[in-house]
């Protein structure tokens, strides 16, 4: 028995890979579904903050990510767009990451088409600019000096969605979907604290713990953290909607559950093997 436990530590990594793959593939293939409990927390705060916005408001939605974090952030982009558009809130979007432009287009266009919202009237994608925090500060005094045209070269000044919007403080809220830098911290520093605009959004699970201090001080009104945050929002957005469109985060949470258990099992087995090896060494002395 001791030999088996000690040998565990020398197991081929490919066996670990196979177990890991199965822990994700099997629950997904079986379409295992688990209920998503929504408690008090940053996801609920985010939903409540958007819900409190009156229709006709305008929100800035910043797509600060790329395909590498798309499984976590794209469901948030879709769910947030659904919530905002259903409430007749206008969306002006941009991207601090180049690939965020195309991903944002994909999310907003699909939602807009399903809800009958018009590009340039109800939503627009301004595109990408370099500069991160610097461009945010410049937008604080004049958006059109940074974005004279949208991502596709259409003059921003002619768009109905931009009526009454000339600087950052004209927005009712700023939402950033952030995979790193520039992202949420840049918006909090350069827009939230400087121009006193409510900041919210979502981020990858990796960076979520770092943003809790902003939640504690009220510098952020809410935060969706990783796939769990996306699933929470998808669940809340679906409440009271007839035939809501299927999201991708919620079905993934069952696989996430199983995979977490498997990782915990790996850690426990690794420690048992380590302790057995340590005990044997101690005994040999």
């Amino acid at each position: 028995m001791a030999t088996f436990v000690e040998n565990l530590g020398r197991i081929d990594r490919r066996i670990i890979f196979i177990v890991m793959a199965l822990s994700v593939v099997v629950p997904l293939a079986m379409r295992l579904s688990l209920p998503i409990p929504i408690g008090e927390g940053p996801s609920k705060d985010m939903y409540d903050a958007v819900e409190a916005l009156p229709s006709g408001s305008t929100v800035l939605l910043s797509f600060d990510y790329d395909p590498s974090t798309m499984p976590e952030l794209q469901p948030m982009a879709v769910a947030l767009s659904q919530h905002l558009m259903r409430k007749d809130i206008k969306i002006v979007s941009l991207a601090l990451w180049p690939m965020g432009v195309s991903l944002g287009n994909e999310a907003m266009r699909s939602v807009a088409d399903s809800l009958g919202k018009e590009e340039y009237t109800d939503w627009v994608n301004l595109g990408y600019k370099t500069g991160g925090g610097v461009l945010i500060v410049r937008m604080g005094s004049d958006i059109q000096s940074v974005f004279p045209v949208d991502y596709d070269g259409n003059p921003v000044g002619d768009m109905p969605v931009m009526d009454g919007i000339s600087r950052l403080s004209d927005f009712d809220m700023i939402l950033s979907l952030s995979a790193g830098d520039p992202g949420v911290p840049a918006w909090v520093m350069m827009a939230g604290d400087r121009y006193n605009i409510p900041i919210g959004g979502g981020c990858t699970a990796v960076s979520a713990p770092q943003f809790y201090p902003y939640l504690g001080t009220g510098q952020m009104v809410g935060l969706l953290g990783g796939l769990k945050g996306a699933a929470d929002y998808e669940t809340m957005v679906r409440v009271g909607v007839e035939n809501p469109p299927a999201g991708t985060a919620t079905p993934g949470m069952a696989a996430q559950s199983v995979a977490h258990l498997v990782i915990m099992l790996f850690i426990i087995l690794g420690n048992i093997s380590y302790l057995a090896g340590k005990k044997k060494k101690g005994g040999a002395k």
């Binding site: 688990l34 209920p35 408690g39 590498s68 994909e106 410049r138 201090p213 199983v258």
Partner: protein, 205 residues
């Protein structure tokens, strides 16, 4: 001596950005600088692309290790440039098709490989060999369970405990790190603006 002009540019640019925060008269200067910043910073991306091409052309020329794959990089780059410049970037165009159907799955897959390596690392390296490491492990377990639906099914209080860990000890720890890093950043910024820190210019005097 050859660093005098760059150091002066750093000082003037830095001071304008600080002053425009407090002195309205410097606002327009600050705004011009911010607009210029975008243009100059975008050149860094071109520099990166030129460097990438240089490396791969060099690899092909000298038949360096794995040189046979270098034409793939160059071809991928060229196809995106040609389609983007001449056929447009809006949805439905070849540029957008290649982004959606090729770059998106490749980018997502590349980073999803990390799930396997994090599992392997957790098995081999996560050792509870003292009480603090055990505390870290317990905290990780509670958070991992509390963030998934199965946690609530095991014990209904787990999500609440997990959220408490996030909002109390995690917040305290992250805030300490945040304040410490901010002070470091402020000190470094001051050193740069006043020309004490010059390593970004190549370290020469």
């Amino acid at each position: 001596m050859r660093l005098v002009i760059p150091l002066m540019i750093t000082f003037v640019a830095g001071m304008i950005m600080i002053l425009q925060f407090f002195v309205p008269a410097t606002q327009s200067m600050g705004e011009s600088l911010q607009e210029w910043y975008m243009i100059v910073a975008s050149a860094a991306i071109f520099l990166g692309a030129i460097n990438l091409l240089n490396v791969h052309i060099h690899k092909i020329r000298f038949k360096a290790k794995n040189w046979k794959y270098s034409p793939v990089t160059i071809a991928g780059f060229a196809v995106m440039i040609i389609t983007g410049l001449f056929l447009g970037i809006e949805p439905g165009r070849p540029f957008d098709f290649m982004f959606t159907q090729m770059m998106v799955p490749m980018g997502a897959t590349m980073f999803s490989l990390l799930a396997f390596f994090v599992a392997s690392a957790a098995f081999r390296a996560f050792r509870a060999n003292n009480w603090r490491a055990t505390l870290l492990l317990v905290s990780a377990f509670v958070v991992m369970l509390g963030r998934v639906p199965i946690g609530a099914m095991i014990w209904s209080k787990i999500p609440g405990i997990s959220e408490w860990i996030m909002q109390v000890p995690n917040l305290a720890g992250q805030r300490a790190v945040m304040i410490g890093a901010a002070m470091g950043m402020v000190a470094t910024s001051l050193r740069m603006i006043f020309g004490i820190e010059r390593s970004y210019l190549g370290g020469a005097d």
